[in-house]
Each structure stands twice: as C-alpha cells, then as structure tokens.
Amino acid sequence: MIEINDLTVRFGGVTPLDQMTLTFPHGTNGLIGPNGAGKTTFFNVLSGFVRPAKGSVTAFDDNLLSMPHYRRARWGVRRTFQTEQAIEDLTIYDNVLMVHEHSPKQNRGAREDDVHRAIKFVGLSANPQAKVGTLGAADRRLVEIARAVVGKPRVVLLDEPAAGLPDEETQRMGEVIQKIPEEVGALVILVDHDMSLVSACCTKTAVLDFGKLIASGDTPDVLRNEQVKQAYLGTEAAA
C-alpha cells in the first residue's frame, strides 16, 4: 500500500496540493476531482518531476521521495500521461521492450517473454512488429498500458488512459485495468473524469478539489457524496 502524509506542493502563490493525507490500499484506486484539482500534480510528485514543500510518500515501506526521479521507474513506478506517449517511430514490441530494458536486469530470454506477455495481457491483436504510428487511437492507448505493466511494476499510475476513446473501447480498457492488481501484482491509481470507468475499475476512490482531499472511501459511496457532486458542479458546499 502507499501512505501519503501531509503532502503539500507550492508554486509561487498557488498551492496545487494541500496537506494531502491518504492511504491507497492494494488494488485499483480512483483519484478524481475537477480540472485543476491537483491530480496530475500528485502524479508528478510520485514520478519525481515535482518536489513537494513538505510531506512524505511511503510506498510498500520504501520512502519514495528520497529517490531521484530516474530511480523510481527502476523501483517500480510506471506511469501513463494524459497525452499519448507511445513512441510512434518504434514498433509495439520495441515500445514495450524499451521500458523493460531500463528496469532491473534480466536475461534476454526472460525479457522477450515478459514483453510478449504484456502485449497479450492488454489484448493487442496487432502485429508486434507494426510501428505504433500506424495504429489507431485505441491500440495506441493499449500499448501505453502494456508499457506500464511489463516486467514487475509495483505502482501503476494511469492518467486518463481512455481519454478520447469511444464507449466500447473505454469499456475494454476498463476490463484490462481491472486485471492489473491481480495478474500483474501492482497497485493501481487511476485518474479519470469518466465516472463509469472509475466505478467499473476502482474499489476505493479519493477526491481532490483545489488541492485538498475532500472525500475518500468505497467508490459507490464517494460518487454519491454531496460534497463531491458539488465540487464537480461548482456550487457552494452546503453549510
């Protein structure tokens, strides 16, 4: 599990994350909130791109913040980004291979198996030797998931993995995401605006608004929470 304690980020006069304290249990966790709530900032802290003003992040008993950013991927943090990041010039195979070869050493044979396993896990039917630039949007997103689950990641951060996909593909993506904790063994944090995806995949969900944690718990309860609804709709919270 991941324990976040009093995590605060400040830029100039803005406080994108304000004293966030939360524990993410094993499984798939949702992190939702209106635009600008601090979700991507939170991911950036975990990735190591942003240094918090204060607070701690303990993941599986390791102090994540003490590691420089390039070590975290080696430790087992994987991430997808809001905008597509699958490398167009490389084949599907090379895209996934690339992530794997920058993780802890393994022999060549095991590497090939792991890559094929990841490609199969996400259900990609395209030829692994096809260049990602030739694939459609849904397949590209699946390549990104494959890159996130190959090898033995410990934490998988998904930032709007189904953005721009039609309902059917989103559902397919959701089915893949749901399998990750059990089959890959990683803790998943999913950030998305699509509530059907969040309720389908995530057992627990946390909600950020203006950098502050306003709700957390079982997903159905959180989604019914009045304060959460108002945060999204922008009305004043009832006194």
Binding site: V9, F11, V14, P16, G36, T40, T41, N44, F49, V50, R51, H69
Partner: protein, 295 residues
C-alpha cells in the same frame, strides 16, 4: 605587463565595439522575448545592408547620407519580410527550431553576398570617423562616440519602451504567453511585426557601425553576431540591462587584452569564454533540468 598608457587607446575601441554588441544584443533579446525567435541572421542582414550601401555610394553615385539610411532601412525591411512570411508558420514551434530557421536566412544572404561581391577587400568610412577629439592623449573619433552612445541609448529607450508604451507592454505580454495575449485582444501579428522591424533596423545600424569599426567583409560581419550572442546568453535571453553590460564587458575585455602580448592572439576568444563561464554558472544554479510545473 603593459602600462596604463598602452591600455588607454583600447578602452575606447573596446567601449565602441561593446556599444555595437550591446545594440545588437538588445535588438536580439527584444525580438526573442516578443516572438521566441533568436535571429541568428542578425549579423548577415547588417552585413548585406552595409555592402549595399557601399555599392550605392561607389557604383551608383549616391550620397553617403541616403546610402547609410538605406542600410538601416534595408535591415528593417528584410527582417520584417522574414518575420511576416516565416514567423506565423513557425510560431508554435520550439525556439530551437525557430532559431535554426533564421540560419536558413543567413545562408541565403551569405550566398547572395558572396555571389555579388565575393570577398574582395572593401572599406566604407563613415564621415564621423574622420573627426574626433582627444581625451587624455587618446584620439576618439566620432564613430566610436556614436557606437557607445547609441548602444547606451538603445538600451535605455528599449527598457522605457517596453515598460511604458502600449506596444512595449504588449511585447512583454507576448513573451509571457502568446495564446493568452491573443485572447486579450492584443493585435499579436502587429506587435510582432513591430518587434521584427525594430530589431531589423538595429541590425542595419549595427552592420553600418561594424563595417566601420571592424571592416567591410561579409563573413566577418555575419559571424560577429556571435559576440553579441554571447552577451545575450549572459543576459539569459531575458534581461536587457544584463545584456547591455555583458556586451560592454565583452567589448572592453576583448580590446584590452590586445596589448598583453602573451595572450593577445587569443583575445577573440573573450566572448566565448565569458559566455561559457556564465552558462556553466547558470546550469550549476538551476539544479534539475525539469522544474516544477503547476497542474
């Protein structure tokens, strides 16, 4: 170690060169801040303007005054033309791409200059170079005075312009964020055009002054821009005041090393050495290459 007397004449030449580097540097920084384009063809434009002036005076019978004015205006016109044609399609690209594109312009101008004028030795003496006065037994000609004064004037006027005029404020807004500035109703294209034109006029003036202080040779004048670039680097492509002072220092140090025989041959390394030191200090202080971003 040479004596004070040996250094004195070089103080003047150093300040004069520094003044021209300053006005070039300020011109480049303003353009960069307004459009994101670091005009590496700045020197080439000035060189061509100077050569055209020479041509007009020596082969077309123009009087000096109008010919020199032509040089300045040519600089403005060519730069503005480039900015209007190639600015918009490249506007969203990385500053590196935009700067590389100006190298295309530089090559075109270099090619034309070599084609028309080849690299024969030429000279163009401004009338002000023949008159001057003496300060502490060193002769200072008026061209040098103009170079120093103009450099200073450009720095001051530009700083005031950016701070107090509507177009200047618009330029600063553009430097900050082009898209938001556009949505505020600022006529982005027109403001950028003003920046291109102003910077171009300065390149014409710089070309004219340098052809006098250094020599009328296409390649030399084109690549002298590197010295001004060094100043802009030290100013971090942001601060006009720092660029100005860096340029003066570069010009001074470069000239003052001349009488120190042991390193005199290496004096042209001054801009590079100073810029590299400045950049190393910069990168040391910045720390991690990826700074925090909101969101």
């Amino acid at each position: 170690m040479p004596s004070w007397e040996d250094f004195k004449p070089f103080i003047v030449t150093g300040l004069a060169l520094g003044g021209v580097y300053a006005l070039s540097g300020v011109g480049m920084v303003v353009l960069y801040r307004a459009t994101g384009v670091l005009n590496l063809a700045f020197g080439a434009v000035g060189a061509m303007g100077a050569l055209l002036s020479w041509q007009l005076i020596n082969h077309n019978g123009w009087a000096e005054g109008p010919a020199f004015l032509f040089c300045v205006l040519f600089g403005g016109a060519i730069t503005l033309l480039y900015g209007v044609i190639f600015g918009p399609p490249l506007a969203s690209r990385d500053p590196l791409v935009k700067a590389t594109a100006t190298l295309g312009l530089a090559l075109i101008l270099l090619g034309i200059m070599d084609l028309v004028w080849s690299d024969k030795a030429r000279s163009m003496i401004l009338p002000t170079s023949n008159h001057g006065f003496e300060v502490s037994r060193v002769f200072v000609n008026y061209t040098e005075v103009i170079a120093i004064a103009f450099g200073l004037a450009v720095m001051v006027v530009t700083a005031l312009f950016l701070r107090f005029t509507k177009t200047g404020t618009a330029m600063r807004a553009l430097a900050n964020d082009r898209e938001i500035t556009a949505t505020l109703g600022v006529p982005v294209r027109r403001v950028e055009a003003a920046a291109w034109l102003g910077s171009g006029l300065l390149s014409g003036a710089a070309g004219l002054l340098l052809s006098n202080l250094v020599g009328l040779d296409a390649a030399t004048l084109t690549f002298l821009v590197i010295s001004s670039l060094a100043a802009t680097l030290i100013g971090r492509l942001r601060s006009i005041t720092v660029t100005f002072f860096a340029a003066i220092v570069i010009g001074l140090v470069n000239a003052l090393i001349t009488p120190i025989l042991s390193i005199s041959q290496y004096r042209d390394m001054t801009p590079f050495v100073l810029a590299t030191i400045a950049l190393l200090v910069l990168s040391g202080r910045r720390g991690s290459a990826l700074s925090g971003r909101a969101g």
